[in-house]
Amino acid sequence: MTKMDITEYFSLVFSDYTLRTITLGTAVLGAVTGMLGSFAVLRKQSLLGDAISHAALPGIAIAFLITGAKDTNTLLLGALVSGLIGTFWIKSIVKKTHLKSDTALGLILSLFFGFGMLLLTFIQKQPNANQAGLDKYLFGQAATLVESDVWLMVIVTGLCLFVLLLFWKEFKLLLFDADYTKTLGFNTKFIDILITSFIVLAIVLGLQTVGVVLMSAMLLAPAAAARQWTNSLATMVFLAAIFGAFSGVFGTAISASQTNLSTGPVIVLVASVFVLFSFVFSPSRGLLFKQIRFIKNRRDLELHKTLAFMHHIAETHENISHPHAIKLLNNFQGYTRSTLQKLVEKNYVELKGNMWSLTEVGFETAENLYTKQSTEDE
């Protein structure tokens, strides 16, 4: 693609057929993987996507060897079959042996990927002019998207949305508490197969665009970012879809506006920016606000403790406003000059020369400190 400006891209995206197709494709792909990724993340199966996409590779090669066709749908059908086989092998390894799921994932991932690479090198040595192009599935090549590919993505996304809405309650239940789901009489195997099949389907659809190696990021990144902003499953799924779609659009825009920037990796990088931003700036879970709250909390506590200490001293006198020497406070660890200044600002304490005294308000506040704190805990 030739070099162009980002603004130029956005004016072209509505008129240029190829650009529009690619943008739509990556947006829809980002949305569907974001949605399904939420489920994978919440089930702690984040790496499942990685295993599935790698497991799809031999399927692509075998489909090519059998049919000799380079047509995307045939190859993706092969990918789907081997992706599904890989997934259900992982599940049965976990179920039948004592291996943990990370081990099973790693085993299947490398086994299938190794076999896939073997087949790819074999195909490359064949005297068949048609061979070139299979390796685009390794890193993806969004430029090869055509309108029918996008239609396929739209159909799958629509289907996925429909199933999601239909079985929303069952999905949520299984994600939160699988054993309990069983006792309520739901067929957990069916729900599980449904979710997993859609995850496999979405990943396979993305192979052409993003490729085997980076596909799992499309599943995880939008979901991980979305989790930071909400405490509701529905909002999380929705946000993940939005983040995914925007990653697709921005990724395409950026790669289209530069020469020699392949789209898949750029999309993944944009998605990672969403993640980074969310980790830092989310109001409830973000690092920044957490740190600010932590510091503020500490300051408040120091202030309260100092006030309580002063209250303790003031109580020894009949007149609570009787002045005491500031140096008395040096015995107290939490005391600093600035806490004293803050207490004066809040009108809890009055200063006169080297002496301080509690005000009426300060005394009452100090007395109610403990009870106030315990009601805030409620």
Binding site: L42, K169, K172, F176, D177, D179, R227, M236
Partner: protein, 245 residues
Amino acid sequence: MKQKIAVKVDDLTVAYNYKPVLWDIDLEIPEGVLMAIVGPNGAGKSTLIKSILGILKPIAGSVTIYGKPYEKQRQLVAYVPQKGSVDWDFPTTALDVVMMGTYGSLGWIKRPRQKEKKAALEALEKVGMLAFKGRQISQLSGGQQQRIFLARALVQNASIYFMDEPFQGVDATTEIAIINILKELRKAGKTVIVVHHDLQTVPEYFDWVTFLNVKKIATGPVKDIFNDDNLTKTYGINFKVSVQE
């Protein structure tokens, strides 16, 4: 007085690997009892409950609820899993978790409506958690999380309740609140089966007890069988727990 049998377990044997976790368990639980299942770690207490509820597949044996196979009687049974069995950072609220108790009677696809929401709110009130209905579940204390699990089971409006260590990691206030609810359930004629760890409180809380250590050691009224002899048989060391009353 001849009591109806709520739960009947026959020849139940369960194994994870080669060694059986439960061996040939026969158990009859009469209707309306508040029963503790006690035994050392690894005795198969949770496994027993999970096998009765069909979460685990036994090697042999059968379970009937009021004389019919469990699969046909699910609606009569509610389950309170161990608190640690789920991820409390899941993005959902207290009310939403309690609503899950209505999903079984709703069946596939149907969404909960006003009626289900009302039932969930009532259950939250019963466990003293109404004020926390909108709270994200990770922001609840351990005791509050346990109450939410209890409320979820209460919503099911079952006849038989299975609870896996509902007192684990809760403070004294919550423990009393929970036991009071369990006693109320018994008063209403429900059958409550609880995996329990604190032997000291067995005579105070329960009227029925099952001693379990892979095999069933004994089952019956607390006042008849909760004694040093059975405790020694179950735990394998000499026991002196003075039985109150």
